[in-house]
Amino acid sequence: MEVRDPGLQPERTTLAWRRTLISLVVVDLFIWRSWLTSEPSTGNLVAGLPGLDYQGICALMAALATIVLASVVWIRSRQLHVGNAAASARLVLVSTLAVMGLGATAIAAIALGS
């Protein structure tokens, strides 16, 4: 019997992407907690949307970063399911930018929280 891939490389890579997404959700939880525990602000940035203050925008940005990385993980998992082609530079760059955006959001949340 031929051993197709003794190292299970695509599977390990898929799992690494999923672990990364889970790590990102941990950061999200803290940013969302920062929004939920912040003093309710009276001035809304958008009329009729209570809670959408600057902390609320941070929470939305964190959600956006999660959606972007989740899409990348979904695309990459599908690619690795059918083959073992290398990742395109675009996918890697988009996931890097999502994490950097989350970093900026985290800094904003820390600065706003005090």
Binding site: A87, T96, I110, A111, S114
Partner: protein, 133 residues
């Protein structure tokens, strides 16, 4: 999508196309490509751990230090985290370029730098925890 970026003569489609080094040399064995990808992801997770640590200390330990000191420490930690994400992409590209052209993998001080950052952060927070009581 083809608008010009301010200050450069590159367009968005240039940025999103595969970079030039991807067309040099020969495509590495998929095992090495995927290992490189996993190394990138491991660095990204390190960066996310720093971000989580920064926000968590700010949220869960408000009395660890006077507010300005705490905010500065946490922002510094988050900045290192965001910078590390950029560095991981850079290293991923460098590694694959070296593999494509049969060169030695580039040496880098990222590991030494990260060891020092984590050690200094751990020491600083240990001192703060002791002083805060």
């Amino acid at each position: 999508m083809v608008g010009k970026l301010s200050g450069t003569d590159k367009t968005w489609s240039d940025i999103l196309r595969e970079p030039a080094w991807r067309r040099t040399g020969k495509t590495p064995d998929y095992r090495f490509s995927l290992a490189n990808e996993r190394t990138f992801l491991a660095w990204i997770r390190t960066s996310l751990a720093l971000l989580a640590g920064a926000v968590a200390v700010d949220q869960l330990a408000p009395n660890i230090a006077p507010t300005p000191v705490r905010v500065v420490l946490c922002v510094l930690l988050a900045l290192v985290g965001a910078g590390l994400a950029a560095l991981s992409y850079h290293r991923w590209g460098q590694m694959e370029a070296a593999m494509r052209n049969d060169q030695a993998l580039p040496f880098s001080r990222v590991m030494l730098f990260m060891t020092i950052v984590v050690a200094v952060a751990a020491f600083a927070f240990a001192v703060l925890i002791l002083v805060a009581r």
